[in-house]
């Protein structure tokens, strides 16, 4: 595993998303309320491009007719068959024990540290004042 700068923070503001490529793998980056999450951009069902999915809330119910809505904006639905994934963990909602999409740790690093530290940043014009989205993959 190594760390890769994939975007500047300014490019992926809260509520937005970006499709990036790390070591040949397409990874969808989401900014949820300032925190970043990364998912392999392939639904485990038939490979749908998750970055095109919709972010919604979680509808739960312990009784027919009752609807509990929470975690608005944290549930990603595959743009194809609508499978629901917790964007933070990659866990599917339907069968969390069996189905998961691979998730990647994502962090924000200030530019200075990225340039000087042990992390691998490939030919990136780095401005020291900026902060960068870094994916470990």
């Amino acid at each position: 595993m190594s760390k890769h700068v994939v975007a500047s923070v300014a490019e992926v503001p809260p509520g937005s998303r970006k499709l990036v490529n790390v070591k040949g793998r397409p990874i969808a980056i989401f900014n949820i309320d300032g925190a970043y999450y990364g998912l392999l951009n392939r639904c485990p069902h038939q490979g749908g491009s998750l970055v095109h999915g919709v972010l919604t809330g979680l509808v739960e119910s312990d009784e027919p007719g009752k609807y509990c809505y929470s975690r608005e904006g944290e549930i990603l639905r595959c743009p194809w068959h609508g499978w629901e994934f917790d964007v933070k963990t990659g866990q599917s909602y339907c069968e969390p024990d069996k189905i998961k999409v691979k998730n990647y740790p994502v962090e924000v690093s200030p530019g200075r540290r990225v340039v000087e530290g042990p992390y691998i940043a490939e030919t990136v014009p780095v401005t020291v004042e900026e902060e960068y989205v870094v994916v470990e993959a």
């Binding site: 975007a7 749908g48 491009s49 194809w80 030919t123």
Partner: protein, 373 residues
Amino acid sequence: MNVQVRDTRTTRSEAASRLAIADCDIHPAHKSKRDLDPYLEQRWIDELRTFGPRRRVGVQSGPAYPKSQPNAARRDAFPEDGNAPGSDLDFMRRQLLDPYNIQLGVLNATGENGQHFQNRDLGNAHCRATNHWQIETFTKNEPRLKASLVVPYEDTQAGVAEIEHWAGDPNFVQIILQSRSADPLGNRRYWPIYEAAAAAGLPVGVHAFGFGGHPPTGSGWASYYIEDMVGHAQSCQGLLISMLMEGVFERIPKMKLVLIEAGFGWLPPLAWRLDKLWKRLRAETPHLKRLPSEYIRDHVWLTTQPMEEPEPREHVLDTFDWVGWDRMLFATDYPHWDFDDPDQALQVRVDEPRRRAFFYGNAAALYGVAAVA
């Protein structure tokens, strides 16, 4: 930046080296409500705009059950111009035909095509217009695409006339009807349409949906869209039972039936049930000379979407064996949300001859299209 933002819609492994695919269910869509105007008399344009389509459903426009996604489509299938999924030929080429090496795509123009307008004159004009529109917008400019002839089947005379009008036109590889009809499709009021199709050498495709006015269960209206969707299997069984028992295949030996988008797992148990039942009750249907399963084997094909997903996946191999590998016609149902990706849909190991038949050969043989290498 070092990152390449790849648009996965256009990046696929080299298309030319892939197996050629026949996609037996693609849905073209209108860019705007005016798309059919060039093919309609003004009075029909005015009639539709003023009074609406008059389908056997309460909402003025749209489906009876709300879909799960806009346009019931994949969210990534909206072309750049923002028009409906399936409306842009160029986008369809880039997202579907080219990357998957689709050498034969069969269009099923099932939306707002006039088949379900209670006002039959209005409806018949729209069926004709839809058939023109398919050619002008899609098949004329794209040799890989063929169309299904939209037939106004609830008006027997008009249905026959539409088939006879287009018979021999190479743009069309089959006729299509929709499964939820006003009477079960084996009913004798539909026979002249099947006879005309057989005379024209056109298979009869029956696609899921329709607005025949009956609820999607024999016990009334289900509450949920999921029941509407799964219910296409029940509807298709009803119409197939009807076609078999009414003796459509006995009367019209050249009839070829293609069941589209209803699944196929239900077919073997239904065939077993019908064989047993027919042997017991055959006094009622003396016009039948063979077992129902024999008629099915000779006259019925099925598209593969939505692919059955048992666990373990290998159970589906039993179903293919029972149905017959030669009856299966691969389909994606692009651009709908329950799309089957050609690379992913068949999650079981199949030998090469069967793969080729499944993905291309069966369709080429059925639709009389040249085989590819």
